[in-house]
Amino acid sequence: MAVQTSSTEKDPGRWARKYPELGQEPLPVSPYIDPEYYEKEKAKIFKKEWLYVALEREVPSPGSYKVRRIDAADTSIIIMRGKDNVIRAFHNACSHRGNTVVTEKGQETYGKNRAGVVTCRFHGWVYDAKGGLVSVPQEDRFYSCFDKKDNGLTEVHCDTWAGFIFVNVDPNPVKPLNEFLGGYADHFGGFDYDTCDHGFTYHTTLDCNWKVASDAFAEAYHVDTIHAGSFPNVFEGAIEDVELFGAHRTCSVRLQVENLPQTPIGDLANERSRGSLAAVGGASTLPPTLNPNRDEDWGFELSVLFPSVLLHVSEGIWFTHQFWPIAHDKTLWEGKYYLKKPRTHSELWGFERAMVLQRNAWLEDTATMEDTYRAMLSGAKKYQHLQDEEILIRHNCKVVDDYVDS
């Protein structure tokens, strides 16, 4: 009987049955291509919600800072650890005439100042890690209405969870981060992200809407076709363990263990390291919430941390895709893959092979995005059809709509 129950549970449409409120109808293409819809997303999501901007270890000691550009919120943010060890976040905007205080070298800029201050290059205004304006050259030439104490950096909401730093640029009071994360925090909070302190990062800028890019990674339906090269028949099964947590969502991606490719270099790399997703991994680093039944075919958890982070966790591995909207038709994608620090040259070599294969898979993933977007712009198709395995995308469409209409 158990087998029958199980097969009924796996009948097509199971996620729609689990989450009937998401509906089954085709969904409109317009939110992907309409510039006005994007302006609403900026105002109601990216300027109102918590955004993951850094890891705590990226600002490791007092005086360390990171500047993260957030085009979708029309700002860049200084995230700085103070002498009191508290991490605070501020708009990177000088109180004088609005120059960026820290000169940015790109989307992510790192720095450290032993005195725990940042200094604007333009006229040398100095701010401490609590945002206070501590020095203004030629201060006596400003008028009596100017007071340093009223002209610190503009602070933004900043909080942390499991080593992740989030900011919220809404100038008004906001709901706490733990409330925003809700059950997602319980599901993922037990993994020790900090021990994976090695890894690699790729990025590129794509001519497409951020949701086109995010959607392309948020289902496993494409793996058969898109990853026929790098992961042949490895992840071709159905997703499992779909859970929605408010605006966030997760599922597990399964390995076809019997299809795992056996090749000389691939096998050797997997023998000497745990770096690749395309190998049976075990569960020594997994909290009970991830792969709860310790199934051998559990490959990794694929989740969406709303609005635009995909967080994946596997045995000894975690990685993110982050989609930073730059305009309605332009998106910065960043893929960051974290592994435990290698102990030997063999392990480092195995990681290199895992990195290469993962990069190649990401090259396969990103191949569709600009094409999809161009086709959407044609106006030929007003609707997209999502199947049950694409339930995470359907959820995103609904959540984004809810925010935009709020």
């Binding site: 890894g199 090749t263 270099i265 290469v356």
Partner: protein
């Protein structure tokens, strides 16, 4: 310079592949993309019998302390990691088939000397 690669005793056969003695991921990726299928295949077939011995030899040293004498063979092993999927999965195609434009993918760690095993994410 590249053709005068130093190798530890026993690895003299790898000298003829000094072209693949490349320190950084960016250099290895570029070299792989510029190579022909025949060249990749020749490299793969020639290095495969040595790869375990190369790794075992390098494992005699602490990570981050690989002597200059061994960096060449380790770099060749890293080139093997770069090239292997193209032989084992992509039928010898020097590019990734049906993929995004590789030159638009930026590797943040791409100019690191890989043997140093630097943490590529975050501040240096």
């Amino acid at each position: 310079m590249e053709n005068e690669m130093n190798v530890p005793a026993g690895f003299e056969a790898l000298r003829s592949f000094a072209k693949w003695n490349l320190m950084t991921a960016d250099e290895r990726t570029a070299a792989r993309r510029e190579a022909s299928t025949e060249e990749l295949k020749e490299f793969y077939d020639a290095i495969l019998p040595h790869i375990e011995a190369v790794l075992d030899e390098c494992d005699k040293f602490e990570l981050g302390e690989l002597p200059e004498s061994h960096r060449g063979i380790f770099n060749i092993a890293l080139s093997m990691a770069e090239i292997a999927p193209h032989i084992e999965f992509y039928k010898g195609d020097p590019g990734v088939p049906f993929a995004f434009e590789e030159e638009r993918f930026i590797a943040v760690h791409g100019s690191d000397e890989t043997w140093q095993a630097l943490p590529p994410n975050g501040p240096r």
